[in-house]
Symmetry: C2
């Protein structure tokens, strides 16, 4: 609560984007038009002017973008970050004396009230600004001053817009010129400076594919990073952008789990990749059965050749055999007898996992070592990390680590794999995670999807939380997929890929794998988490072509790269859902999806035509990019019928 | 954007109350329970604890009030300010190790998993806290430690709640004790400290009555502060709390306005009280025709005897005859010929008024002089000011002046008379005005009233904006009153007095004065602003008894002192509106108002029974405090019929 005799004379409030009063950074993508909004007002009827001040990483000087008044004292301005990294921005607002004089003069002219003194006043304001003008412009302004100072041709002649004394000073060019170079005496500047993380395009828009390299072997053999290369052509040809690998590090043997999470593994059991660390090393080592660090480098190169980026898993936990257990026992939690605590969520016990004590006395040593793991893999060319259960690790650690890493490597993308309470999910995004897993897998009805997507796309969350819709994961095989058959897999793929700019599938999805370990469980039977699984990706009923088509559509239509442009359209039946994405100058995409995988549904679609850039009586065509059929529609209403056993979704491009 | 290795391990976000990220103070009334809310969370499943820290004016030490978790990581705590002035508050949150251990132990017991080591761990935590406990409590805790350390009576015996080793340590008393004295290592404290202006009760709840002292003379004579005393009994007996006087200072003669705002006054015309200043002085002088400063002191004393407080008008503007015009010409705005600028809103001109230049070079001299005016009247015992058009004066001045005045005289109440754009109205309340005039006079339909009251009572505005609903003012005679007759005056009185804790009328309202100066104008004919008007307050058709009854109801039912307890109830016809106010332990008041002053209306009322503290099948009585009739109702629905020519409103007390 500050008050002073010298405060600026304009109030600037409710600046957007702004996350928790500027405590956290908002997010944007390079090339985005970042729109900055604020309430700007002062006492009295004076005309105001305002500008967004912004600067990119390492810029010393501020650039400016003029703001305009929209409505109800809300102003808007925008800038377009052209580099990734941390940008800063704020607002400066001031009183425009000349614009105020000009507005008032017009009102006086219209009321036949112009007096010589008012013209002298305008001349004085122009004179006050002469020095600030570029020398090339001074002549024009001097002429305007001279005409204001000229004696009236006859008494009362100044009361019309034809009066030569006011024609020049009321000219638009002079108004713009003075506005641009107007003194900012008494201006207000927002404090403190706000920050914006500007990321590369893949931070928002990308198709992810997850697979276990150890499952790429032939004829039952343990796969390697070398055999994993063989999968890359298939994945790239389906149109994916990012390949995400579960941990590739040595796996502990103590308390190793067997197939289907059994506690009595056999000697051939390969263990869980998230039980990291063994005699062959920890988080910076490659599991010997997968190959060497050189094999990893080769794998990365091969991926790069095919336009794929690799995302590694970053899971901060250790098997009892991790080197840190002996080298740094102080980094773990201990029980009264000195033994190291395994992970628990009483009464559940996870003896194969030792959690880290982020509040250890050697906090600095531990935190730097952990960040060093990211540095190690960044050194090998990895810039995307899927972070395992970040919500069970200290949030202050993440804030420090991500801030530090992004300062050094702004290209790094971190995906938060947190499935927890809403505020914690949001908190992780606020403290710096680039992308986040979501509740998408558990949102299956039209009401659930509409409510959740509205929260993600049309609330404050959109400023900092970038969703990544995984349709399945090794941990989540939703009942909808277990029971809905092939149509369910198509439906959920379309929803994930078109609702969210980033989405992903875990391998097997394209084969419609749907058998749970037991009824009521979301775990897979014979889960790859505990064993090697080999697949025939060309098996009958595969969705390879469908996935490929959807990914092609994603790449072909720029409207799908965004989230906040999502609009829902009404369909008068609960199982049919319609949504679109549009952008100025781009072809809109309109999807209509039958959410019922068991039966056809029909209904009347009522379009929000304005959202599609259409006038109420426009005739327009919609071309289904799945079926290749074209319909001619007029007005807001259209009949739709979708049979899941034929095609459960229309994905229309809207042709005006 | 701070990140550090040493940040507290709990996140605290979205603290309420908080106005514009703490830039402005929230408001409360002495004795209010101030509820503080925040999102509080950390990583992992640990049990958290949190407290509101608060301190009153001049307190060096912080007091604390424990917070509890409500839902979805939202916590709440409360404190009750017992003094007026500026209070400070914040939140501290930490991890409760003992509560976490206790919760986990229970889960282990239920799962037959308790191991000796876990009991040792609990003993260790208790030992760590022994020193922090009051010595009287140490014995109990030592016993609990001893039982945890005791050997099991038999193998596995610890797995039941009957195990004597865990009975004591799981005891509620120990849990509360340790919770209270728990170490706060790694706690987080919100920064910066938030502030709250705590005002006296009259800042929120009061009935205002406005009259012109000069109109209290007899037989056409100019009234004085002495004749004005004669009005006080009448006003007090009607149940008003505050008497507001338009400016009582000398009135300028240059450019003086005549009757009905004419520009050719006669020698007998008294001028506009807001054209302040003449040869007899300025803002600290009393108009000689009204009397002397001693007469004013007497007037104040007489008001005080009758339980009335006096509100003076503070209008920062001058007539051309104000002493400052010669003593401080630099405080005004000047035209190029050196003459002082009169007020304008082109093409409108107000030659009788010179506005002040708040941005003058002698800003400090001017601002201190202006504040000195308030100091002068405060010195004479005035602590309530109605501030004229504050939105045309520098907002930074108000923020400085109000902050400074309130620091010295926290009992001062300032009512902002701004009728301007919404953001500016809100801004004035944020920078410190205690109360605000509103758009109430222009909200006459059910939809308009419901929308506006919902904004005032149920949005962020309620944290800082305290409405004062004037049913009329010398400037505003709404068309609804001009055409609606006596029923309209009753309707608007009930609405103003029961919807808003503070409300007011300008004299003549009780006589249903309704003649505008011309059709389409909201100005009164023969307005007292320009002339002396004498009235017969006992004239036929007066509302004196009605006003008295409404003010008595206001004083009798504490639920009417509040705004945020307002709830609207559905009535199935547009012209009938129903609303209630309730508080725990107090009798609810339910009003049903016919907004149509021309015709009876009937309809079905559907009550929000929960808001009235009623169960769905309760039978209850409603007693109309206007008609004295009692009805027995059951359930949510009731038939209502209101004839404006009989009584346009029910004001029920709800009897359970």
């Amino acid at each position: 609560m500050k008050s002073s005799l010298r405060r600026g004379h304009v109030n600037i409030e409710d600046v957007e984007p702004q996350v928790d009063c500027g405590r956290y950074r908002a997010k944007a993508i390079i090339g985005d038009l970042v729109t900055v909004r604020a309430d700007i007002y002062r006492d009295g009827p004076a005309v105001l002017a305002a500008t967004v001040r912004f600067r990119g990483p390492d810029d010393k000087r501020w650039s400016e973008a003029r703001m305009v008044h929209v409505d109800n004292d809300r102003w808007t301005g925008a800038f377009r970050p052209d580099r990734i990294g941390v940008w800063e921005y704020g607002i400066e607002a001031w009183t425009d004396r000349f614009a105020t004089w000009r507005r008032d003069l017009k009102a006086r002219v219209e009321a036949d009230q112009v007096m010589d003194l008012e013209l002298q006043e305008g001349a004085q304001i122009l004179e006050d600004h002469l020095r600030a003008l570029p020398s090339s412009e001074r002549k024009t302004v001097k002429q305007a001053i001279a005409s204001l100072r000229a004696p009236a041709e006859q008494e009362g002649a100044a009361s019309s817009f034809e009066d030569p004394r006011i024609t020049a000073p009321l000219d638009e060019h002079i108004a713009e010129l003075i506005s641009k170079h107007h003194t900012r005496a008494g201006s207000s500047v927002t404090k403190p400076v706000l920050q914006l993380t500007v990321d590369r395009a893949l931070a928002r828009f990308g198709a992810w594919y997850e697979f276990f390299p150890r499952s790429t072997g032939h004829e039952g053999e343990h796969g390697t990073l070398t055999t994993a290369v063989d999968e890359l052509d298939r994945i790239a040809s389906m149109g994916f952008d990012i390949v995400y690998l579960p941990p590739i590090h040595p796996i502990g043997t103590t308390w190793r789990k067997g197939r289907n999470n059994s506690l009595d593994p056999g000697p051939a059991d390969v263990g869980v990749p998230w039980a990291i660390g063994g005699e062959d090393g920890g988080h910076t080592a490659v599991h010997p059965d997968l190959g060497t660090i050189d094999d990893f480098d080769t794998f990365l190169k091969e991926a790069d050749k095919r336009g794929l980026e690799i995302a590694l898993d970053f899971a901060i936990q250790c098997s009892p055999d991790h080197p840190w257990v002996t080298e740094h026992p102080e980094w773990f939690m201990h029980r009264p007898d000195g033994s190291i605590k395994y992970a628990e969520n009483p009464p559940k016990r996870y003896q194969d996992i030792y959690p880290i004590n982020f509040d250890t006395e050697d906090r600095e040593g531990l935190w730097r070592e952990l960040k060093g793991i990211l540095d190690f893999w960044i050194g090998h060319g990895v810039t995307i990390f899927r972070v395992d259960n970040p919500h069970t690790k200290a949030l202050p650690f993440w804030e420090w680590a991500i801030t530090t890493i992004k300062a050094e490597h702004p290209e790094v993308i971190l995906l938060s794999e947190a499935f927890t309470r809403p505020k914690v999910m949001k908190g992780l995004a606020k403290i710096g995670f680039t992308q986040s897993y979501t509740y998408f897998t558990w949102r299956n009805t039209k009401a659930e999807l509409t409510e959740y997507l509205t929260e993600l796309a049309a609330t404050d969350m959109a400023q900092y939380f970038k969703p990544n819709f995984f349709a399945n994961t090794p941990d989540i095989l939703h009942e909808y997929l277990q029971t809905g058959g092939r149509p369910a897999f198509k439906i959920r793929l379309v929803l994930a890929a078109l609702l969210s700019p980033s989405y992903g599938i875990y391998s097997g999805y394209e084969l419609c794998e749907s058998t749970p370990v037991k009824p009521g469980s979301e775990e897979y039977l014979d889960s790859e988490k505990y064993q090697v699984s080999q697949r025939d990706y060309d098996a009958e009923g595969n969705l390879n072509r469908y996935v490929t088509r959807i990914n092609r559509i994603r790449r072909a239509y720029p409207v799908l790269e965004h989230l906040t442009n999502l609009v829902f359209h009404d369909v008068d039946t609960p199982n049919l859902m319609a949504f679109s994405k549009s952008l100025p100058g781009e072809t809109p995409i309109l999807a209509v999806v039958n959410l019922n995988p068991y039966h056809w549904e029909e209904g009347t679609l009522t379009l929000n035509l304005e959202a599609l850039g259409l006038d109420p009586w426009d005739t327009f065509k919609v071309h289904d990019l799945i079926s290749d059929e074209t319909y001619e529609w007029q007005g807001a209403q259209a009949y739709v019928r979708l049979d899941p056993f034929h095609e459960p979704a229309h994905v229309f491009r809207v042709l005006k």
